[in-house]
């Protein structure tokens, strides 16, 4: 390529860039640029909500956990444009209107007066968001503690700093929480000392264990797998170590597990397969 051709090429590029800078979309008002950023940030937020949630949440082993999982994704998606708007304005402001050391700060802008359109959009969007979130949350919450006939009842005892579980009618007591899939589990929760938080994480339920009285929560395991039982209330020196292994197994495996822990075959089968 000759030197003349190179010069022409450089001029063409310079004209194009100059056109973008002065006449193209980047020369529009700040609101347009911020809008571009909002769209980009929102897209990132939605992508993160959809693809990262599974990686940071416990596995889904019950219908309640599925509900919690979906709720978190949905709420995050709803929150994404709001967060994106805040971050976009902040980022653009810092980049465009920031001033260095020694520079005079720009004068304050004119006071904002009422703007019916802006106010209406603001209030309308906020109301819609809040109502949607409220309805969704109430619906998800109402799915918990939906009693079924013949649930499997498990007595849960918290104490500093261990969990123990009793399976009524079988004589079995364990530091491991084993539950059958396909049956509703009714946890009867209490504490021997201070307040603890019973949280079998993959079952999607959580309730306080209070000394002196009992609290109740139900879960509907619908898949087999392992999970952790944690304490969700700061309860003292070894709170961080207050966890137990949990497992969702088939009813037959559950019955066998009960027998291996001292239950009679009759009581284990009645409990595991017929409910208590």
């Amino acid at each position: 390529m000759s030197s003349n051709h190179e010069d022409i090429k450089r001029e063409q590029i310079a004209e194009t860039v100059d056109g973008w800078t002065h006449n193209g979309p980047f020369h529009r008002r700040p609101s347009f640029r911020i809008l571009i950023l909002v769209i980009l940030f929102t897209a990132f937020g939605v992508w993160a909500a959809v693809f990262f949630t599974d990686k940071i949440m416990p596995s889904i082993l019950s219908s309640q956990m599925k509900s919690v999982h979906d709720t978190i994704i949905f709420f995050t998606i709803l929150a994404a444009p709001v967060a994106a708007l805040v971050y976009a304005i902040a980022a653009y402001s810092i980049y465009k209107w920031g001033h260095g050391h020694g520079e005079q700060a720009p004068p304050d802008g004119p006071p904002m007066r009422e703007n019916s359109l802006t106010t209406s959009i603001w209030l309308g969007a906020s109301t819609i968001l809040v109502v949607v979130v409220l309805v969704w949350g109430m619906t998800a919450l109402s799915s918990e503690n939906q009693g079924q006939l013949r649930p499997v009842t498990i007595d849960v005892y918290g104490q500093q700093w261990l969990w123990t579980f009793k399976y009524p009618g079988t004589g079995v007591e364990s530091n491991q929480l084993v539950v059958p899939v396909g049956r509703q589990i009714r946890f009867v929760v209490t504490s021997y000392d201070v307040t603890h938080g019973f949280w079998p994480n993959s079952l999607g339920v959580q309730i306080d264990a209070n000394p002196g009285f009992k609290t109740y929560i139900t879960a509907d395991p619908n898949a087999t797998g392992q999970f952790a039982v944690r304490c969700s209330q700061l309860c003292g020196l070894y709170h961080a170590y207050m966890d137990a292994n949990g497992k969702v197994v088939t009813p037959t495996q559950f019955s066998s597990w009960l027998v291996s822990h001292g239950a009679s075959t009759t009581s284990a089968n009645a409990y595991a397969l017929g409910g208590k």
Binding site: Q159, W161, Y241, N245
Partner: protein, 239 residues
Amino acid sequence: MKRLIWGVISLVIAVVAVGLVVFGFSKQQYHAPDGTVAAKSVGMIQYQGKTRDHVVLTFGTYASAQGKYGTMLSVDGAPNVPSGEVHPGGNPQWPAYSPSNQFSVPAGAYVTVVWHQYDSGGAVNNPYFARAHGTVGGTETVNGKTVTGVDGNNMAHTFTVRPAPGTASGFFLSVPSPVSKLGDNATNTAGGQVVTFSFIAGAKGLYAWNCEFPCGLGIGGFGAVMSSYGYMSGYLHVV
């Protein structure tokens, strides 16, 4: 330049502040009197068709954290730890494990524990912890007699071990001990009960242990000594 100087000064102040906080917490941290007590090897043993290291771990529980221990004998009756202070500088009103709260055993080893129990006790709030869990055969011995647990209304302490959260090893060990033969008049040097039990050490890692008998003050008996690191709690290092 002025901004740089102030930035450096701010950084120094922040580092000093964080350092003071760390120093303060480190002063609060309990340091085991005798460091980590490693289990002693006594040879090999066959268990469930597998040859394993056989190690012996010896410790005691005492009525007063400040004072000398009673004689601690090894599993074969020979003196193990001839003398020493239970918990140098410890609260004399509080019981304590000794000679340390840090123990180490080899991974997968057949561990025999010799526990010299000199403290008083009472009723446990959860009978589950009056029974042995996770030991070989589901039993322990008290003064040579094999049992599956102790009287939950007259027990002193438990040695309860669990892995760090998030590990799915399923390891769990909990063994109770009976009260001193002197009951409420327990001393560090007389009326001792000897508890032995064996367990198979889990995979390598850090395990926490604590006593599940409410031997402290306050709500549920888990205040004071039970909520102070080092007396009734510690770590089992599986190496």
